[in-house]
C-alpha cells in the first residue's frame, strides 16, 4: 500500500479522497491554485503545494507540475478525482512513466473508452448493445446532413472525448444541424482539446441508468448495481438514486452482466461507470464508460455498504478486489442531490461570493460530502457545485422524506443556491411516484405553495424590509463594493416575478 498519495483535484472530491487516505493511514498531498489557498482540502491535507493561478489550465490541468510535486513530496500515487485530468490517458501514462501509480484504470482502458467512437466499436465487438449512429473524424455540412437523414431525426451530436454533458446537442430539425455541430465541436475542443463530434439516433424519453463497475489488476470484475440519473438539466445530473425505480430484477441482472462484459472487454482495473440509455420498453443501449470515480458514487456506497475510494486506493496498490459479486447486495434506498450556487429561477445562472454562514443538515440517514464552510469564497473559476447531500432510507419513501427534511434544514447565507429547487423536485408527483425519464426537468413545474407558507413569506419580506431598511444594498452583507451579479438580478430577474 502507499505511504503518501497526491490528490490532483479540489472541492468536495479532494476532501473525500483525503478522508479515504486517512482511513488507510496514508499521508496526503494536495496541489492547489491560488484561488483555493483556504479551501477545506488544503487545510485538511498533510502537505499542500501551490501549482498556479486559478485558471485550471495553468494549475489543475497542468500534469507536469503535478507530477513534479508528487516527486518532490515523495507521494507514490496520484488520485485524480473526477473532472480535470481524471480521464486523460496521456496524463495516466506520464504518471506511470514517472514511476508513480495513477489511481484509476490503465491508460489503455481510458484511451479505449475516452473516445466515443472507439468505445462504441469495442462494445459492439463485445456484444453490448449500442445506439445506431454514424462517426467520422469530421463532417462536412453535406455529409452531416446525409448522416442525420439516414439515422432519422431527432439526432444527437456528441463529442467523442469527455463527458459531463459538454459538447452534446440534440437536434430536431435540419436547419439547426450545422450551427449545433459547430458549437459542439467548439465546446469539445475547448473542454477536451479534441473536436471530434459524431451523430447518433436520439432516443426520446429515455432513462439514464448507469452501473458502477470495478476491476482489479488480477482479472476480477464486479458490478455494484445501478444508479438512476434521469433527473438531468442540459445533460448535467441533478438528482441521482439507487436502486432505480424503473428497474426490474431481470433487467438489473441483464444490464449488470453487460456492464461487467464491458469492463472485461477493455481490461478495466479500477472504479468505473458504464452508462446506459434505457428506453420506455426497457431496452438498453450502451452510452459510454466514465473511467473514473463518479460524482454520485455515494449512493452506491450507502446502498451496497462499501467504500469505493478506499477500494480504488487498494486496487491501485495492486491488491485484489475485496468485493465478491455474489456477496454484493442492495440494501435500502439512497438519493443524492447536488447543491449548487446557482439560480434555477434565472436560467441557472451561477452565483459567486462569500459563504457567510451555513446551517448543515444532519441526523439519521443523512450524509453530506462537502468542502463548504463559512468564510469560503465561491468564485467563477470552477464548477458551481458546493456539496452533495445524500439520504439513505430503508425504502424509497423514507429516503425521500429524510432528504426533503435535510434540504429544508440546509441554509447557506451569502449565496443563492438551488436548495429550494431540489426540494421542489422531491415534492414533484412524478418524482414521488418514481415515474420519470430524462425529460423530467423539461416539463418541470414547481409544486403549489401552501397558503400559510406564502403568507409567512409575505410578512417576513415586509418585516425584513422594515428591519434592514433601504433596498438598494444586499442586506445582511458586511461587504461594500459593486457586485456585477447584482445588476443582472435586477435587469433580468425583475421580470420573472
Amino acid at each position: 500500500m502507499f505511504d503518501k498519495v497526491l490528490i490532483a483535484n479540489r472541492g468536495e472530491i479532494a476532501v473525500r479522497v483525503i478522508r479515504a487516505c486517512r482511513a488507510l493511514g496514508m499521508k496526503t498531498v494536495i496541489v492547489y491554485s491560488t484561488a483555493d489557498r483556504l479551501s477545506r482540502a488544503v487545510l485538511m491535507a498533510d502537505e499542500a503545494y501551490c501549482i498556479g493561478p486559478p485558471e485550471a489550465r495553468k494549475s489543475y490541468l497542468d500534469g507536469k507540475k503535478i507530477i513534479d510535486v508528487a516527486r518532490r513530496s515523495g507521494a507514490q500515487a496520484i488520485h485524480p478525482g473526477y473532472g480535470f485530468l481524471s480521464e486523460n490517458a496521456a496524463f495516466a501514462r506520464e504518471v506511470k512513466e514517472a514511476g508513480l501509480v495513477f489511481v484509476g484504470p490503465n491508460a489503455e482502458a481510458i484511451d479505449a473508452m475516452g473516445d466515443k467512437i472507439n468505445s462504441r466499436h469495442a462494445m459492439e465487438k463485445a456484444g453490448v448493445p449500442v445506439i445506431p449512429g454514424i462517426e467520422r473524424p469530421s463532417f462536412t455540412k453535406e455529409a452531416l446532413k446525409e448522416a442525420a437523414r439516414e439515422i432519422g431525426y431527432p439526432v444527437m451530436l456528441k463529442a467523442t472525448a469527455g463527458g459531463g454533458g459538454k459538447g452534446i446537442r440534440i437536434v430536431h430539425d435540419e436547419k439547426d444541424l450545422w450551427q449545433a455541430y459547430e458549437r459542439s465541436v467548439g465546446e469539445s475542443e475547448k473542454a477536451f482539446g479534441n473536436g471530434t463530434v459524431f451523430v447518433e439516433k436520439a432516443i426520446e424519453g429515455p432513462h439514464h441508468i448507469e452501473f458502477q463497475v470495478f476491476g482489479d489488476k488480477h482479472g476480477h470484475y464486479v458490478h455494484l448495481f445501478e444508479r438512476e440519473c434521469s433527473v438531468q438539466r442540459r445533460h448535467q445530473k441533478v438528482v441521482e438514486e439507487s436502486p432505480s425505480p424503473f428497474m426490474t430484477p431481470e433487467l438489473r441482472a441483464e444490464m449488470g452482466e453487460a456492464a461487467v462484459t464491458a469492463a472485461r472487454a477493455i481490461g478495466y482495473d479500477n472504479a468505473g461507470t458504464v452508462e446506459f440509455l434505457v428506453d420506455r420498453h426497457r431496452k438498453f443501449y450502451f452510452l459510454e464508460v466514465n473511467t473514473r470515480l463518479q460524482v454520485e458514487h455515494p449512493i452506491t456506497e450507502l446502498v451496497v455498504g462499501v467504500d469505493l475510494v478506499v477500494e480504488q486506493l487498494r486496487v491501485a496498490a495492486g491488491e485484489k478486489l475485496s468485493f465478491e459479486q455474489e456477496k454484493l447486495a442492495q440494501t435500502g434506498h439512497a438519493i443524492e442531490v447536488r447543491i449548487c450556487a446557482e439560480d434555477p429561477d434565472n436560467n441557472y445562472m451561477p452565483d459567486v461570493g462569500l459563504i457567510e454562514s451555513v446551517i448543515l443538515p444532519d441526523g439519521p440517514g443523512i450524509r453530506l460530502d462537502s468542502a463548504m464552510a463559512a468564510g469560503l469564497e465561491v468564485t467563477l473559476h470552477y464548477d458551481p457545485m458546493l456539496a452533495k447531500l445524500i439520504a439513505w432510507g430503508h425504502d424509497r419513501a423514507e429516503a425521500i422524506g429524510r432528504l426533503k427534511q435535510a434540504l429544508t434544514e440546509f441554509k447557506i447565507s451569502g449565496l443563492r443556491t438551488n436548495v429550494p429547487f431540489l426540494g421542489d423536485i422531491l415534492r414533484d408527483e412524478r418524482f414521488v411516484a418514481g415515474v420519470y425519464d430524462t425529460s423530467f426537468l423539461e416539463h418541470f413545474e414547481k409544486p403549489p405553495l401552501r397558503q400559510d407558507v406564502f403568507d409567512a413569506a409575505i410578512i417576513a419580506a415586509a418585516l425584513f424590509k422594515h428591519v434592514e431598511g433601504g433596498g438598494r444594498k444586499l442586506a445582511g452583507s458586511g461587504k461594500g463594493g459593486l457586485d456585477p451579479w447584482k445588476s443582472f438580478g435586477r435587469v433580468r430577474g425583475a421580470r420573472r416575478l
Binding site: 473559476h381 434540504l407 429550494p420 421542489d424 413569506a457 418585516l463 422594515h466 433596498g471 456585477p484 433580468r492
Partner: protein, 174 residues
C-alpha cells in the same frame, strides 16, 4: 410603516408597527397579527413566529427583490416601502417593460451573437452565447422588442457588467 410586497403581479399591502416588547404588529387586509421576528447573528436567517406558527426564513436581497426561503420552499418577491413605491410610480422609473440592457454577468468569451441591430426579438429568444465556467450559456432576451445596439462581436472577451446588447420597445425606430 406601510410596505408593498409584489408576487406575480399581485400587490399585497403590509403595515408594520413596532410593539413595546420588541415584537411587531402586522396589519394586512384589516387583520391584525403579532409577529415575533428575530435574526440569527452572522447569518441571513430570521425566525418568524406568528400565532405560534414558527418559520425559519432565509433571506437574500438584491435591489428591490427579496428571495425568501422557508420550509424548504423558495419565493421571489419585490418589496418596497409605500414611499419608495410612490416615488417610483411618479417618476416612472424601474420595472419597465420598455426594453432591456443585457449585460455580461461574468467574465467570459462571446462565442456567438445571434441578433443584429434592428432585429425584432421575442421574449426568451437567444441573443448571444457566452462561454464562462467552461460552459456555454445562452443569453436570452427577457422582453419582446427591437435590438437597438449590439455592443460585442463573437470572439470578444467581456468583463462582468459589460453591455452586450441593448433592446428597445418593438415599435421604437432604429
Amino acid at each position: 410603516m406601510k410596505y408593498v410586497v409584489e408576487h406575480e403581479g399581485e400587490e399585497i399591502e403590509i403595515e408594520v408597527h413596532e410593539t413595546e416588547d420588541g415584537n411587531y404588529e402586522i396589519v394586512r387586509d384589516g387583520h391584525v397579527l403579532i409577529a415575533d421576528f428575530k435574526k440569527i447573528e452572522g447569518s441571513r436567517i430570521y425566525s418568524l413566529v406568528v400565532k405560534n406558527r414558527s418559520f425559519e426564513v432565509l433571506m437574500r436581497q438584491e435591489d428591490d427583490l427579496v428571495d425568501v426561503v422557508s420550509l424548504g420552499r423558495g419565493l421571489r418577491l419585490r418589496v418596497e416601502s409605500e414611499r419608495e413605491r410612490n416615488a417610483r410610480l411618479i417618476t416612472g422609473a424601474g420595472g419597465s417593460t420598455e426594453g432591456e440592457i443585457v449585460k455580461a454577468v461574468m467574465p467570459g468569451i462571446v462565442v456567438a451573437v445571434n441578433v443584429a441591430e434592428g432585429d425584432v426579438v421575442e421574449s426568451q429568444q437567444a441573443i448571444c452565447v457566452l462561454e464562462a465556467m467552461k460552459m456555454e450559456n445562452e443569453i436570452r432576451s427577457s422582453v419582446t422588442g427591437r435590438v437597438l445596439k449590439v455592443a460585442v462581436a463573437a470572439g470578444q472577451t467581456v468583463n462582468a457588467g459589460d453591455v452586450l446588447v441593448e433592446i428597445g420597445p418593438p415599435d421604437e425606430a432604429v
